[in-house]
Structure formats: C-alpha cells, structure tokens
Amino acid sequence: MYIYDKFDHAITSERVAEFSQQVTRRLAGELSEDQFRPLRLMNGLYLQLHAYMLRVAIPYGTLSTKQLRKLADIAKKYDRDYGHFTTRQNLQYNWIKLEQVPEILAELGSVEMHANQTSGNCIRNVTADQFAGVAGDEVEDPRIISEVIRQWSTFHPEFSFLPRKFKFAVTGAAKDRAAIQFHDIGIHIVKNDAGEIGYAVYVGGGMGRTPVVAPLIKPFVARHELLSYLEACLRVYNMHGRRDNIYKARIKILVRDLGPVEYARQVEEMWPLTRASGVDVPAAEVARIQAFFAPPVYETIKEPVAAFEESKKRDKAFANWVKNNVHPHKVPGYGAVTISLKPIGGIPGDASSAQMHQIADLSDKYSLGEVRVTHVQNLVLPNVKQADLFAVWQRLGEIGFAESNIGLITDIIACPGLDYCSLANARSIAIAQRLSEHFADVDRQHDIGSLQIKISGCINACGHHHAGHIGILGVDRAGQELYQLTLGGAGDETASIGTLIGPGFTSDDVVGAIDKVVETYRGLRQNAGETFIEAYRRVGPAPFKEALYGRR
C-alpha cells in the first residue's frame, strides 16, 4: 500500500483547514451557494434529496484494514451506521451535516484518506482493476501509475475547472475488469516490442445520455512521458470542450465532434508544449511509489491443497462459492475472494459499521490486512490462503455476505435512484431488491450463468445500464415510473453499448419482463456453456423482442 510521507500529510491537512474556513465563510454568508458549490463538490460534498452526501475517495479501490475501520467508525459517529460502496470505488455517506464535514475530513486524513475531487468538474478518483497485484494476467500493477496520477491530479491548478467531470480508469491486465473504455481516459498498461512498459491511452468514453466506447488515441506512451501526454489531452479538452450545454460538455462529445484522428492530432501538437513544462515526474519518484506496491511475502504452498479440495467435495454450497467468488491468484495456494455486498433482497453496495469491522478483522487474520473495492460494488480479500477459504466463507456467512453470486444475475449494480437522488425518475434500489429475491434460487442462478444486470434511475446512467448485459433505465412517462430494458451491453475488453429493446415496463411488470428475457436465453443457448452475452451476440435482439412484445 502507498504510505503518506510528510508532504502528503501536509497537503491533506492543509486541505482540511482550507475547506473548514470555506464552510465558515459559507455559513457567514460571504460565499453564496453558487460560489460555494464548486468548492464543496471538490471536497466530495453533494446536496441530495434529503441531506448532504459525502463521497470519500478510495484511490484505485485499495484499503488497509485501519482505513476500513475508520470508515466504519465515521458511519457510526456521523451517519446512520452504514456506508455505501459505489461503482467508482468510493464510499458514500448519505446523511451528513455540513458543519461536521471538516471534522470528518480530519478523521479521514488521520488514516491517509480524503474526499478530494470525488465530485465537481475536475479529475476524479482514479479507479483500477480490483485484482491489481494478484491477477496472473497482469503486465504491471496498475496502482503504481494510478498513484502517480492521483498525486498529479490533486489540486491541479490548470484542470480544476474543466467543462465537466473527468474520470480515469487503469488496468494492467489482459482482461479488463475496470471498464476502461467507458471512462474519459482509460489507460491500458502494455509492453512494446522492445519489452518496455508503456500505456495505451483511450479517450472519450462514457455513459450518461450519450454512451460512447472510447477510441484508442495513442497505442503507446512511454512511462516517463505519460503525465505530459495526459496534460496535452486535458488541455485540448479544457480549451475546446463545450461549456454552453452541460449535456455536451464531456470530452466524449469533443472527441466525437472532432473525430478521434483530429483530436489525436491536436493532442500531438500540444504535447511538446506540456513536455517543455517539465510536468513528467522523475524516474526516481515513480520508483519510490512502485516500492510501496512490492508484492507481500507469500508462503510457498504446493497445490492441490488437500483440506481445501476436501471441503469443496464435502460441501456443495462452499464449492459453488469458490467457483463464483474466488479468483485465481498468481501465487500457488492462494485465492482472491470477492465478498458479495449483494445479499438476496439487500441494497447493492451497502455495508453496516459492524460488517465493515468484521471484514477488517477477517482481512487482518486471513488476507494480509488489505481490502479492495470493485466497480461492481463488492469487496475483495486479495490474499487468502486456499487452506483458509473454508473458514473465511463460514465467517462471511455469519455476517450475511456469503452469497455465491459474483458475476451472476443477482450481482446487480444499482444507482441510488429515487430513494436519494434529486435527479431520479424512478426507484433503482427497490427493483434490484425484487429482482434479487425473484432469482434467489442458487441452482437457478448457476444455471443461468454469467449475467450482469445494471440499473440506473435516470438517463445520467450512474448505474451503468448501457454496459449491462441487461440494462434497466428508469424513465418518467406522464408521471408514471417506467423501466426500459437494454440488451447486449458489456463493460469488459469487448465493450459494447446495450440496445433499447422496446417500450418500457411498469414497476409491477419489470421483474416478469426480465424473467422472460432470461428464459428466452435459456431456451436458445447452444449449450450450457454459452453465456447470455455470447448468445445475444449470436442471435441479436429479435427473439427477445418477440418474447417480450409478441410478434409484430
């Protein structure tokens, strides 16, 4: 894990002091709400339907157990005893008092955390592959360059008032678990023919009302030149991105309007200027950061691990959980456990203070004290010995997080929707809960196989419905909440945008409609191994349309 030095600490505490006096000036009336708004947003503070929401950054999704315990304690002391893990690897508190925010930020600072730039028209928290450092298919741990980017983007004097928000995602693996092509900039760590590590840069992806899969803008940027290249990308956007229409202000619109080739040309033209400013960090600094992500000391373990294999044979439920929730580890004898924050009928991504403490205890005992957050709103224990998996599973069962549904139909992403969000057209959480109950049967879930449902309460697409194999979008039709279905989206390295399948369904009918889609898939798949998305890509929307709306 990265550990703050005196400079990081100084910057973090100076930020708390600065925001503290900004709050005082707001309360005294020196700053109007209009003037205060961008300042509070850059400190992660939103005004929601019922209260302030504070969004805490979990940079590239990595947490120490000390940090997780602090998040739990803050939830207990300042909020309603729970927190909500989001699709951007952040944690949100939904019931916060403005006056207490400086105090909360100071508490976060004490464990090397912050809420910097988790909102506002600036560079947001950098997200990365949740299996960073433990996945076998990795060129380099993405957290190294993510931390370089985190520092570079923190209080960047030029890019804090961009036309719109700006999101980075990084993966170092062949399999994209960070949905990089749905970000403003997606970085794929690659090796060139000479064996040097560098970065493929994708620009202009995003969700929202205009979903776009980001085009590749530069296949290889050398490691020591990445920041100046990124500054060139950002500067072209800052100078030419649209500021007249909030819905056209993201970089995806600029890249689309210019065309990727012309955008890339303008970036190339700008690059010598940013390079000349000397923004690229010295190699010694990258090496310093890299050292923090050196692999922990693992035991030498010979596979197969007898006790583990034995438990799987004895206990089918455990075997199911291993199959779905345990990812292969690059070190023999270990596994990376995904803890499902999607208990049947629960709220996706929510964890109580007690549960956070229990997970921290588990990680200290079994996973070298580290926890990860995934963009699918689950948690990960990255370093569990196979011999300990059975004990971990049992303990998770006791705290209600042993659902073996990772990647399955009840591993649903849902935005806050009408329960919290002032922009919502419809409820998202309630639909997720009902779907989860409808498909609760474990055997049926396993039979259906890999299937991602993603739900957004409005066209802003915070629930990533465009990238769901089945996407659900809440719309408002003459005062009635309706749900439209999109099929065929994907957020991985085969990124695609789902297609709207037809008119929306009422809240009462939407679960039945999803059931029809699922049964149609089961009826037409070529064999049990053909997943929903593979089958959909083979047959197209027609059979699903017919099942939902009849022959036309």
Partner: protein
C-alpha cells in the same frame, strides 16, 4: 472595481481605451485585441505602455507577435467556472515566455486565485468590496504542490529526491 495582487489592493495605472478613442501621448492604455491587431504600429508609438484584453476564444498564435512589447494582458472570463483562463495563463508563461503583468478578470472568488497565481497570473480585477482577508488566507493555504508548473514552487515529486525548495507561490 479594484485591482489586487497576492498581497492585497494595488494601484492601477492602466486606463481602458474605447476602440474609437485615441491614446494620449505617453499614456498607459488597455485596448481590445481587434484594435491591437489593426493599429499596433500607431499604438505602440503613441502610447507609453500598451496592454490588451483577451477572452477565452483567443488564438494565442495571433497574439504572439505582440507579446514582447505588451505591458499587460487582461484575460477576461465572465463565469468563474470557465477554466480556460488557467490554460491560457500557463501557455502564455510557459510556452510563449510572456514575462510582463498578466491579469485575470471576471467573476472570480478568492479561492481560485492561488490556482491562477500558479498558472502565471500576477494581478486580478475584482469587484469593490472583494474580501481581502479571504484572498490573503487563500493564497497562503498550501505549502507544497504535487505538480511541476513553470514559475511556481519546486513540487514535492522533486523535493522528495533532494531538490531545493524555491520559487513562488
């Protein structure tokens, strides 16, 4: 309207010339960019010092030929959220090597001025009653930075590896 720098109010010797107004001999004047382009010869010979006001859509390569002789550039943004100001400032300083006074104008708040200073601005045009205390506090809010920006302090990425602390702010 008042003019301030990082320390507080400063005297402003510049007068703004309407496009049809002739400069008094030896005067210190701010003109529009259109006028500068058309009349630079006569302006530079008549006036004592010439400044120009530009907006966010400026083409810096058109401004470039005049830079060595300009005594002031005013960059005006009517909305505090229009961040083109910051890029224009950096490019003028870092790439075009513009060295004289550079002034940000528009609906700015004190909390933005540290960033503007770091991007190379040296003065600000503000409304009367601008909170000077907040300005002074805001520009002194941080001791260190992560980024290497020309004209500004040595970033921590270099301090960590033995570089000497230097520069402002």
């Amino acid at each position: 309207m008042a003019v301030v720098d990082r320390a507080g109010p400063i005297a402003d010797s510049w007068t703004r010339l309407a496009d049809d107004q002739a400069p008094a001999a030896g005067a210190t004047v701010i003109v529009s960019f259109a006028r500068l382009k058309n009349e630079h010869n006569s302006l530079f010979s008549a006036a004592g010092k010439v400044g120009v006001e530009i907006a966010g859509d400026v083409k810096l390569e058109e401004l470039e030929p005049f830079l060595p002789r300009l005594g002031l550039i005013v960059v005006r943004m009517n909305n505090m959220r229009d961040g083109r100001l910051f890029s224009i400032g950096r490019m003028l300083r870092e790439n075009y090597k513009y060295a004289a006074d550079m002034r940000a104008a528009g609906d700015l708040i004190p909390d933005q001025m540290l960033y503007l200073l770091r991007c190379g601005f040296t003065s600000f045009e503000v409304k009367d009653g601008f909170p000077i205390d907040s300005l002074r506090r805001s520009v002194a809010a941080y001791t260190h930075w992560y980024q290497r920006i020309a004209n500004s302090a040595t970033p921590v990425t270099e301090l960590r590896h033995g570089a000497a602390h230097g520069g402002e702010p």
